[in-house]
Amino acid sequence: MSGETIDLAVVGAGPAGMAAAATAADLGLDVRLLDEQPWPGGQIHRGVDRLAGPKTTDDPDRAAGRALLHALRQSKADYRPRTCVWHVGPGDDGVFELGLRCDGAVALLRARHVLLATGSVERAMPIPGWTLPGVMTAGAAQSMLKASGLCPEGPIVMAGSGPLLYLCADQLAAVGADIRALLDTTPRGRYFRALRDLPAALRAPAVLRRGLGLLRAPARRGIPVHRHVEAVEAVGDLGVTGVRWRRGGRWDQTDCDHLLLHQGVQPHINLPRLAGCAMEWDDVQHCWKPETDDWGRSTVPGCWVAGDGAGIAGGEAASDFGRLAALGVAADLGALTREEAGRRATSHNRALAPLLAVRPFLDNLYRPDRAFMLPADGTLACRCEEMTAGDIRKAVADGCHAIEAVKQYTRCGMGACQGRMCGSTVPEVIADARGVPVSAVGTYSQRTPVKPLPLTELAKLDTVLNPPSTETAA
């Protein structure tokens, strides 16, 4: 069996992972930070080390990103870009075994502790036509912009709900994108409901101020904003050519070459699920998240979760959650006394308090609307296996109640993406068909590899595990 066992493997080099890796390494732990992207920063600070970046209202983020990167570079943490973690599971002797691939090579890494800091993913927004070429998520467009400065050409429509939609609109407009309309699908009632949580949110005036600024930004840039949109459809045959929407009962439409959808983000839990972490349902954020204690400790001993992957709280909070988890790991490994860890945690918890106080307001305001999560019968729910919402409803009518039963019946979630795309939609359709809350339906199980792995690389793992004998005949 190859190789050494390290103290801590951190998966994901976003703010949570960067902060955790630097903190743990500074405490003397042997840390490796793994991320499939070629650069550090994760989603929010993507490209922080390279491009000057679009000049937008999110400048405070870039300063924070640079500080995190500086701390990481100063530390002894071993940062490995372009490294995809495709497996995490129990190894033979009580340590974790991680399957890695990097530049065509595979490796196994053994670690006493694992911190999963894999951030969030956007919810699918399965409106009619969502699978047409030219339709993508707002986050995907943002990634392209941050990674390579690319912006979709031609007229764009953006639709959905949540702060990220406005942020993306602003960032794209700043580099000259032709945004014809922003269709905000946040239902009317949400604003009143969220008002209840406003007093608490006032503890974080800076966050609110920034949010307000973002809400006004599109209008300031001359983008027509349509609020309380009730329905959206992508129009086109071979690709999207326009968008139709309903507002106040009236349909309207405009031509476009690109439709960017966004329906909020949810924790990216494929690795925690693979590791066997118990999940809990967050009713306000309307998502599953790993069950953790205040330090980020999951229900699997030695497996930790931090950042948006443990519950959506944003980039700024993520770095503090990452540091807390690093302290927890260090204390468990004896690199730090419990008292010292507790003492250091105080300042992080103090920094987190206002950031968390603002969540109920934001979460209630942008709670995903069922209307946009439940595709119509003829609309695809699972792209890989080409299953429509109607197919899923039929499976339920035929007696499949558990999500795993529907999965076996329809093959939804068994394709190449293993439910990354349909993981929020399919449970929603089942819950609707059965008339139960979506929390009662559960989530897909996750299998290795979390991303498809070339057979040639898997075969190389055989050589890693069983090196060809170099002995010559004696």
Partner: protein
């Protein structure tokens, strides 16, 4: 709460429980099936879909051939073709020694009057598998074997069992069984069920059910594993295994390729969790690429493990209880019970309704491990069978 009564209570809603229930209902019995999770939750959906008579233990051959006949008419039995393709099963001989072993097996079968396994030469091997790397010297083929789609199969069985009037209870676990005055009472997490007959098809959990009946069986829960690849250009050849190393490979109609063969993970039947181990997957991938260079472009999409019962001698337990009246067993399929599903259910129904069967099932008795301690510690089986067992698992 008063107990639900029926002619038969079946414990376990896998392929074997469903098949037994279907056959009994069609013989006019009122049948209850109790399934703790949902139909096909375990081995019967997780399996590799191999419909293989090739390489069977002699005790299972007649039953497996009868079951194969039923697979060939599966649509008339369950109203769906279950994705069954009679594409054959082919075991490659990569060396002359391997071919000699296969020949010895065929000689043994011939002496017992079987002719379904056939030696073929290298030319025919390469006709069948043009993409196979050069160097194989021949093979052993069962032309009527093939594969089916386990998910489609369990879907069809569930529907047809319901249509036949079986009273199916999913999400309910049997917690005990007692017999008095000729009636079995099966207690469950949701009330009691009473019947003169019970049938134990509880898969990897069946030794527990057997113990309620009074039959003690040394069954272990194992976790056979498999992986599926991305869609590849169709070749739709036979299911391929090799004599000298563990491998089983088959392509489904949708182009995906299933790779398995003695892959073993770790099963925990208390939590329903079966965990994989990476090393054997890597080894199988290496074998596949060596034999089929065209698989270079494939991606491994999903690895999985299922929970299955293994017996000390590698063969199932099929037949009446040795300890009590009105109780029957069908479990312990050691990773090759999918093929036996249609046939075994028919045999159980025959036993239950007539008290006997013409199907030779001698050697599959539930009490055979008590009688033969040598068998119980696993010291048996000739080298031919050991070799055959490589692919036997999946």
């Amino acid at each position: 709460m008063t107990a639900v009564t029926a002619d038969v209570v079946v414990i376990g809603g896998g392929l074997h429980g469903c098949s037994a229930a279907l056959n009994m209902a069609r013989r006019g019995l009122s049948v209850v099936v109790i399934e703790k999770d949902f139909v096909g939750r375990h081995a019967s959906s997780a399996n590799a879909g191999g419909v293989r008579t090739l390489g069977r233990d002699p005790r299972e051959i007649t039953l497996s051939l009868a079951s194969l006949d039923l697979w060939h008419q599966i649509e008339s039995i369950v109203g769906s073709d279950c994705g069954f393709q009679a594409s054959g099963q082919l075991r490659l001989a990569e060396t002359p020694e391997a071919l000699a072993r296969l020949q010895r097996r065929v000689d043994m079968l011939t002496s017992q009057g079987f002719d379904h396994e056939e030696i073929i030469g290298a030319d025919e091997v390469y006709d069948i598998l043009p993409g196979l790397r050069p160097g194989c010297v021949g093979g052993l083929i069962c032309r009527r074997d093939g594969s089916a789609n386990p998910l489609a199969t369990m879907q069809a069985y569930r529907a047809v069992v319901l249509a036949a009037g079986v009273d199916l209870h999913e999400g309910i676990a049997a917690t005990g069984a007692t017999r008095s005055g000729g009636t079995w009472t099966v207690t469950t997490s949701a009330g009691a069920f009473e019947a003169p007959v019970i049938v134990n098809c509880a898969g990897a959990w069946a030794d527990r059910v057997a113990a309620w009946i009074g039959d003690m069986v040394p069954v272990t829960a194992v976790a056979p594993c498999a992986m599926i690849t991305s869609r590849m250009p169709p070749s739709l050849g036979p299911v391929v295994s090799t004599e000298s190393r563990p491998l089983s490979l088959k392509q489904f109609e949708n182009g995906t390729v299933l790779i398995s063969g003695s892959l073993r993970g770790v099963a925990d039947r208390n939590t329903n969790v079966a965990a994989i181990k990476l090393a054997p997957f890597a080894a199988r991938a290496a074998t596949v690429l060596e034999l089929f260079p065209a698989m270079q472009g494939a991606q491994a999409v999903r690895f999985w493990a299922g929970i299955e019962a293994a017996t000390p001698d590698g063969s199932p337990i099929i037949g009446p209880s040795a300890a009590a009246e009105g109780a029957f067993h069908a479990f312990g399929f050691n990773g090759h019970g999918f093929e036996l599903g249609p046939g075994c259910g028919a045999v159980i129904a025959e036993l239950v309704t007539t008290g006997s069967t013409n199907m030779p099932i001698a050697g599959l008795e539930v009490d055979r491990f008590e009688a033969d301690p040598g068998v119980a510690d696993g010291a048996r089986r000739d080298p031919i069978e050991q070799g055959v067992d490589h692919a036997a698992s999946t």
